[in-house]
């Protein structure tokens, strides 16, 4: 069932996804860039029968991470924090992930990855992509200390935060990544604070690669994984993964919701590689050309913003414009700061 659903998502993306490689080669200026979904390896390392919810976009992110890792010709070692992705594996003695996988406790995905990486180094193995995959709660809240420490130490691994903007595995409680005004089970009147900006915090660590992504732009996502695997040292990719269950929208709308997030400027796609800031193609037209969809369209499409007032919408819209202005300046100086 999950498989059938994913096929539907992929074909939707094919229809919707023309914009994302626009200008991609100009940005890269090197190597072969995936332009069509058909060019992405068909091999699956997330097996049928996994227990992802219908419409799970985080699962798309994981699938593409594993495909991209495989395409490098190296081995993959996956660490999964305490999050939805550990539930998606299924129940012992089965597992849905066809790569060696280490499930971790909540706070320590990055520190366990440190240990894995150090062990591989000690064995003299250089042919392994170590991927740590954790949710926003496990990254921006409870796991941020371990993450900060691990990247500061310079371990050679990729940390992926898939961000569904709440503790969705435990039934949608507020996290540091929950956006302003979103209703969660622990903020029934709407969150009063803004979303914590962890990609920028990670970029401030001065690590060689930081990117934001969204599975609604799978080629962009795939390219970012590829890029990350080509770089030695700590890498961080923060992926916005709309969750139909918690955000309360129809399961068929996950990809659309991600696209809306990017087009409204609620989520901006970029990379910071060795300190150089680059907007990713889907966000370039939003940031640089001012082709912005009003946030109201995004907010009103989701049950988690039910009851949001016009003033609140206005406040969020203003925040978004400020952000976009900031990104525009960053793009001009090619640096985040």
């Amino acid at each position: 069932m999950a498989r059938a659903f994913n096929t539907v998502v992929v074909s939707m993306v094919e229809v919707l996804g023309k914009e994302e490689h626009e200008g991609m080669e100009a940005v890269r200026g090197e190597g072969k860039v995936v332009k069509w979904l058909a060019e992405i390896p068909a091999d699956e390392y997330v097996l049928k029968g996994n227990s992802a919810c219908a419409g799970c976009t985080a699962m798309i992110a994981l699938r593409y991470a594993l495909k991209a890792s495989r395409a490098t010709g190296r081995k993959t070692l996956l660490l999964v924090g305490a999050c939805c992705m550990v539930v998606c594996e299924g129940v012992y003695p089965n597992t849905a992930y066809n790569v060696p996988t280490l499930d971790t406790a909540f706070a320590c995905t990055a520190s366990m990855a440190s240990g894995v990486e150090a062990a591989l180094k000690s064995f003299g193995r250089r042919d392994v992509n170590v991927i740590a995959f954790a949710g926003d709660g496990g990254t921006v809240d409870i796991g941020i200390q371990a993450l900060s420490g691990a990247v500061e130490r310079g371990h050679n691994f990729l940390y992926v935060c898939y961000d569904n903007e709440a503790y969705c595995n435990t039934g949608m409680q507020r996290s540091g990544a929950t956006p302003l005004c979103a209703r969660t089970t622990t903020t029934p009147g709407g969150k009063r604070e803004k979303k914590k900006d962890v990609p920028r915090i990670m970029a401030a660590h001065g690590i060689p690669y930081v990117a934001t992504a969204c599975p609604s732009y799978p080629m962009d996502l795939y390219e970012k994984f590829k890029r990350a695997f080509s770089i030695e040292g700590p890498k961080y990719i923060h992926i916005l993964t709309p969750c139909p269950v918690s955000w309360r929208f129809p399961t068929s709308k996950g990809v659309e919701m991600g696209k809306l997030a990017v087009r409204t400027g609620m989520w901006t796609l970029y990379e910071v590689e060795h300190g150089v800031f680059r907007l990713s193609p889907p966000s370039r037209r939003v940031v640089l050309r001012g082709d912005v969809v009003p946030v109201e369209k995004y907010l009103r499409a989701q049950g988690r913003f039910n009851g949001i007032t016009d003033e609140e919408v206005e406040r969020i819209q203003k925040m978004v414009y400020q952000e976009l202005e900031w990104f525009k300046e960053a793009a001009a100086r090619r640096k985040l700061w």
Binding site: V86, N94, P100, T101, A107, S111, S114, A118, A146
Partner: protein, 385 residues
């Protein structure tokens, strides 16, 4: 074989542990400083930096991450080591349980220290004893030599296929960690023969990918716990076997319990760590005065040793004095209560006196112990209260 060990040095308990770890050559060391343990990880850092020890040294940002990194590395099949104390121990608490349930042969030195608030850096066994149910093998040492030897044996015990359990070597803060004593070193080549390369059967591999730590239903979880206990019980025999082999290599004999003038004793003092050594001094003095007293030192708290039960059954002492450097508030001295429970199992009715002494580094001179041993009142006595 004794001819092989030529070197003798004069070092602290901490340095002795570091020297033992150096011989074991762990693949990965994850370490975070905390008084009074810090010297262990400092000495190891020097070994690694000078190239004497080829370990990956992870300068973690917390003890939680230290144990997590050890778990990550051991899950890849690596030999790992970390050291901690007191608050650091409690900070890694979640990972301490994780390591044992994951059945990873991690070796950790814990320098026992009191818990705050207020800050107290002196000896107290509560950090480790409050975690006796964490599923780790626990040793409590009483001399620099013993801390060294026990660390050397810990790797072999933890990594034994019949065991596969994390192992903790406890040494008390300052009174052992910072005290210098002569230390006879084990020959490296001999030790290499004693400790085979680590092989963790369930480690992750790329040939046949599997997942460690996936969801586990009520149909299986209890079996994991049952199996854990089975191996913990089996460890008791493995430890005895390793101790015998260690004796062949080093000439030094250890056991789960160490008897001191016990055989004809009418009064038996039971204690752990350095307080047991202090009790031995008091025992000598009392023996001179004609008192038939002996000291039974428990070196191994988990698995609770069969050897202890055998000794208690065999010895004729009618009066037991149990010294505790850790207390379970609202219940009793932790060791005293464990011993009393075992006496019940054995159907033995003994006169039991429980002495609570040395908490938070409280100075316990042997003269004071002597006085308390001679006080014929039973029940629980707090030294100094």
């Amino acid at each position: 074989m004794r001819g092989m060990q030529e070197e003798e040095v004069f070092v602290t308990g901490n340095e002795a542990v570091a020297r033992a770890v150096k011989l074991a050559k762990p693949n990965v060391i994850a370490a975070y400083p905390i008084t009074p343990q810090t010297e262990i990880v400092e000495v190891l850092a020097r070994y690694v930096e000078s190239g004497e020890l080829k370990s990956e040294y992870i300068h973690v940002e917390s003890e939680h991450s230290a144990m997590a990194a050890c778990i990550g590395a051991a899950s890849m099949g690596a030999r790992v080591f970390t050291a901690t104390s007191s608050h650091g121990f409690l900070y890694m608490c979640e990972m301490i349980f994780w390591a044992s349930i994951a059945r990873l042969p991690i070796v950790m030195a814990n320098v026992n220290r009191a818990l705050g608030p207020g800050w107290n850096i002196w000896a107290d066994l509560k950090d480790a004893m409050s975690h006796r149910d964490a599923g780790w093998i626990q040793f409590y040492t009483a001399s620099v030599q013993e801390a060294y030897d026990t660390t050397l044996m810990a790797f072999r015990i933890a990594e034994d296929r019949r065991v596969m359990l994390p192992t903790m070597v406890n040494l008390e803060g300052f009174v052992l960690s910072h005290v210098m004593q002569p230390l006879r070193l084990v020959n490296e080549a001999e030790y290499d023969k004693f400790l085979p390369p680590v092989r963790i059967p369930h480690a992750l591999n790329f040939e046949r990918p599997h997942t460690l730590g996936t969801l586990i239903s009520p149909e299986h979880n209890y079996l994991v716990q049952y199996d854990h206990n089975r191996c913990m019980r089996a460890a008791d025999d493995v430890i005895a076997e390793v101790e015998r082999e260690f004796e062949r290599m080093s000439g030094r004999r250890y056991g789960a319990v160490m008897k001191y003038r016990c055989d004809d004793a009418e009064t038996l003092v039971i204690a752990m760590g350095t307080l047991a050594k202090e009790a031995e001094v008091a025992c000598d003095s009392l023996r001179e005065k004609g008192e038939k007293i002996g000291v039974l030192r428990l070196r191994q708290l988990r698995p609770f040793p069969k050897a202890f039960l055998e000794e208690v059954k065999r010895l004729t002492a009618e009066r037991f004095i149990i010294i505790d450097r850790a207390y379970s508030s609202g219940y009793g001295g932790i060791l005293a209560e464990e011993v009393k429970a075992k006496l019940y199992d054995l159907g033995l009715k003994k006169e039991v006196k429980s002495i609570i002494a040395g908490l938070g580094g409280q100075d316990v001179p042997h003269e004071a112990l002597e006085k308390m041993f001679m006080d014929k009142r039973g029940g629980e006595v707090w030294f100094g209260v």
